[in-house]
Symmetry: C2
């Protein structure tokens, strides 16, 4: 079994109103040293899949089909084995 | 200058309707091997602060005051130096 830690962020050229709002909020609280904020999503997906190559392919498919919008977002992920696999 | 990569997740005991919805969506798309999904936030905050200890303290303060809800969420972060610091 694997646990996928997935980070979805807006592409650097895309405007990030949520990040700008957080930035203004932080400055309003007195955090003057903040240079910029980018907001994104963090997802943890546990899968029963035991083959790492297959798991990687599936997570890529999930990101492209549902989790990320490839027009404005990019993603990366890491796979962590959570239990001794039987096949592999 | 430092870049803080911040991960905010719901505490394990807290219900995660967003994660459940994503899980159902993935299964509906045919990803039957999904065991569970937890949804969270991923934030990148760039700061002009050059002292790592001060930067860490500031990021902790930001998380507790604005970025995370300590009653239902937990957070962790890593600091990456983005430019040779002058003080430190």
């Amino acid at each position: 079994m694997y646990l996928a830690k997935i980070y979805v962020t807006l592409k650097p050229t895309v405007n990030d109103p949520q990040g700008r709002t957080i930035e203004r909020g932080l400055k309003g609280l007195g955090f003057e040293s903040v240079k910029g904020v980018r907001a994104g999503k963090y997802l943890e997906i546990a899968t029963y899949e035991n083959n790492k190559v297959t798991a990687e392919k599936q997570i890529n498919d999930m990101c492209n089909k549902l989790l990320a919008n490839p027009i404005i977002e990019e993603y990366h992920f890491e796979l962590v084995q959570t239990q001794e696999s039987n096949s592999a």
